[in-house]
Amino acid sequence: MPSFFSPLPVFTSAILLRTTLLFYGLWQDAHSPLKYTDIDYNVFTSAASLITHHASPYDRATYRYTPLLAWLLVPTTFTGTWSLWWFSFGKVLFATGDIVAGWLIVLVLTRHRGMAMGRALRFASIWLLNPMVATISTRGSSEGLLGVLVVALLWAVMGKRIVTAGFLLGLGVHFKIYPFIYATSVVWWLDDDVVEEGGKEKGKGDGEGSGVFGTLWRFCNGARVKLAVISLLTFMGLNGLMSSIYGWPFLQHTYLHHVTRIDHRHNFSPYNTLLYLSSSSTSTPGSSSPSSSSPSSSLHLESLAFIPQLFLSAFALPLMLAKKDLPSTMLAQTFAFVTFNKVCTSQYFLWYMVFLPFYLPTSSLLAHPKLGLSAAALWIATQGLWLQQAFQLEFLGLSTFVPGLWVSSLLFFLTNAWLLGVIVSDIGSTSTSSPVSESMSKSKPKVLVK
């Protein structure tokens, strides 16, 4: 009996799933006052229509993306007999992005992990046949586009396509900031052994001196320099172009907004309640605000939130893990970034979900089903608890901020942090389980050598 897990059935099902959802969405939108289409999609498309009227996409309230996205979606504004179909162009684009990302996952797994096609497709299906992924992109959320960008980055890096990788990294950071965390892991991973193995670069430094400068010189191999230069050029080039066209609003809405804003509505982040508390005690435009006398937090710990987040996602995790397993390290980084972020909504889960197929094959979560199941149960339960509290607040008007929402967001955070620890240990043991690693001493402090 031929397996379901061969390219044709898997990709046909993935495409069918998305086509069905797309058409279902069109039907629901046409017949129900409750829309299938995501509100964000209306933001993108009205920004695109502003573009066609030679206006700034930032004239649309809550458009906080690069103008590239609005440019990409210009076809959604086409008029004529096919206008209704053209309007769905963006959703088709995002769904296509999903499929391409799935294909790249398969490529990386088979070429660089030496996995058989059937097994690779099985793991790629976590992304390709995931109803959550398919729903989010067919509802018109652009997160799927990020998925294809970062997987393509991984695919390019693994295949030593340094120019492409640099371009994708620059583009990804321009698109959504957070992919900058991959710069460290990719650069760290691209050491001479990898580069030479690819046979494209010549290793430098036959004994070019030791000491700090020598080490630095040897660190800056051709691939690393090329990646840095190209990604920086792409990032700065795009930013220069966009600021020259759209000026300050581009910088304000695409970047600064995410950095400066502290008054988010409730979301999964552990910092949410704290941010509500401190934003209300610092900003009082209505001088006569009745409760401006509420106990203000004097420490402002929330302003230090970036320290654990960036230390883990952009420094410690890549440094410790990237050379052992780059794809899984990217998962760990993304997971850390989302877990420790000041804002966290369910769309952010897509950011790390795209890397799951690389990590799960060697994960203890699959090796020990009990561990895996309890991890999944905890993740769902704490999230469910939060959702239940949020429902009571949002729709029943009960003040569940403390302790309900706060405690459940902390529990969800703890679950994620625990999972992150498991992922870290798994990545660490995939290499150390190999017998040769015990003899590896060069990079290990002497004290610890047994």
């Binding site: 309230a61 654990p308 729709f395």
Partner: protein, 510 residues
């Protein structure tokens, strides 16, 4: 100072001129049934210095205050405004003294959330009708106590006839609405109060320097649909020895209807309250004319409408709405109330009555959203949303001209959004027919105890329970962080940061 006092009576209550006692400096009578409008106009030089300084920097200032208690309107005083204090303000060009306005408003009306016209006011569309004001401000204000106090101290005290002034000012406690108007062209400030129908015993004295005109008018059948007709007696105290009969007609923009409405929030209101309008009828007020039913909402900043929500026709139809015609600019869709400097927003919605032959009761729903409010003890904060204004806007026949009639109110916040030939047929707002026992009414949800204000209980962070939020969050985040670091450290201790293959190659090299 000039004064005009007008009584509007039902024809059957019409005053008998013989019962009016007119002397050189007084007019008096008893048992006069009718609604009353007082208008007092001050010259610039009669005003206290502090008001003079504010008005000198002002091009136009129109203040509309409406009581939260329902009142019965009467022709020609049928136009409606949402309960609370509305300020429509146009600063003098080339003047940067508008910073005086908010402090003056606070002094006159009491502690209100007003910083400056630039920060607290919203702009109105001025390009369409140059006669309406440039900026708008609103705040809930249940009582006029501070204003009356101010009047007594600043405007009554210097005058010779203090007792008369005092009693007239005190009368404002029971007024249903108050208008204050100033513009640079007339260089005069007028204060107008309105009281619904009741029985009056009068003695209105005057002095030679003050002109006092008293009218006692009753409603007559008009000759044309856009006209109003009044007949009765006019007396200028001091000049006229006896009341002189009069009958006059004038075209009017504002007309009554027999329809009424209630507004309530659906429960549970949550963070996305829906304002339900229950309207007693669906029939147009005038046959043949092009009429559309509109709702004008005045929303303090705690609550707002998302303009993008009103673009889908299916969604609008499901709420019995047909279009959003106007919303204040720059309504932030995410910001908490405590970071929003504006007073709030106003919006004009066109409703979609069911197209049935009979005049049936029906409902329309306006989807709104709440902002986060500052934390408070107990975890809830009350927000008071005034009842909207509902009217049919009908286009008058070609050629009809509306010169401003002597009783017309302008600058109500919505007439400037319509063309010059629009007539407004107003629906009477009624407080919610509450099912909650009267004793509990003041404590519970929307009704507001017979007032034209809806109360929303907004869930907020409970400031009594939030003491440990900062430390608790920090502790948990640190715990999570430490766990991940420990896992990393274990990895490092076992295998360093290198890759497995590196070790293999190192071996080979050796």
């Amino acid at each position: 100072m000039r004064q005009r006092i007008t009584f509007i009576q039902q024809p059957q209550d019409s005053v008998d001129p013989k019962s009016l006692k007119v002397t050189k400096n007084d007019i008096s009578t008893t048992g006069l049934k009718g609604a009353r409008e007082d208008r007092v106009t001050f010259g610039f030089e009669e005003l206290p210095q502090e008001l003079y300084r504010v008005l000198k920097a002002t091009h136009e200032l129109h203040i509309r205050w409406v009581s939260e208690s329902p009142y019965e309107s009467i022709v020609p005083f049928v136009s409606r405004v949402s309960p609370g204090l509305h300020v429509f303000y146009t600063p003098q060009r080339n003047s940067n003294n508008s910073s005086l306005l908010c402090p003056a408003l606070k002094k006159v009306f009491g502690e209100i959330d007003c910083i400056s016209p630039e920060k607290s006011f919203t702009t109105l569309p001025i390009e369409r009708f140059s006669h309406s004001s440039a900026t708008q401000y609103y705040t809930p204000l249940p009582y006029l106590n501070t204003f009356i106090h101010y009047l007594i101290n600043k405007l009554c005290a210097p005058s010779k006839d203090t007792t008369a002034c005092l009693s007239r000012a005190e009368l404002l406690h029971s007024a249903s609405y108050l208008d204050i108007d100033f513009d640079t062209i007339s260089h005069a400030l007028s204060i107008t109060g309105f009281w619904p129908a009741q029985t009056w015993s009068l003695s209105l004295p005057t002095t030679s320097s003050n002109r006092l005109e008293v009218g006692m008018l009753s409603i007559q059948t008009p000759q044309a649909p856009e006209e109003l007709s009044l007949g009765g007696f006019l007396t200028v105290v001091g000049e006229d020895a006896s009341p002189s009969p009069t009958l006059f007609s004038f075209p009017a923009r504002h007309h009554p209807t027999s329809q009424s409405f209630t507004s309530t929030f659906l429960v549970p209101s949550g963070l996305h309250p829906t304002l339900q309008l229950r309207i007693s009828g669906s029939a147009k007020p005038v046959d043949g004319a092009a009429c559309a039913l509109h709702a004008h909402l005045t929303l303090p900043k705690a609550v707002f409408a998302d303009k993008y929500q009103f673009s889908d026709s299916l969604f609008l139809a499901s709420k019995n709405l047909s279009a959003l015609h106007y919303i204040s600019p720059d309504v932030d869709l995410e910001a908490p109330a405590y970071t929003v400097p504006h007073w709030g927003s106003s919006l004009l919605l066109e409703l979609s009555p069911p197209s049935v032959k009979e005049d049936v009761e029906w409902t329309a729903e306006v989807p709104l959203h709440l902002r986060y409010l500052a934390p408070s003890e107990g975890g809830t904060q009350e927000v008071h949303i005034p009842s909207p204004v509902l009217f049919w806007a009908c286009t008058a026949e070609e050629g009809s001209k509306f010169t401003v009639n002597p009783f017309e109110r302008v600058d109500l916040g919505y007439e400037g959004l319509f063309g010059p030939r629009t007539m407004f047929y107003h629906l009477d707002p009624e407080p919610e027919a509450s099912t909650i026992p009267a004793a509990e009414r003041d404590m519970h949800g929307s009704g507001g105890g017979g007032r034209l204000v809806n109360t929303l209980e907004v869930p907020v962070l409970d400031s009594q329970k939030s003491a440990y939020v900062e430390l608790g969050t920090a502790a948990v985040v640190m715990a999570g962080f430490a766990w991940v670091c420990w896992c990393l450290w274990r990895v490092w201790r076992r295998g360093g940061y290198g890759r497995t293959r590196v070790a293999v190659m190192e071996k080979k090299k050796q």
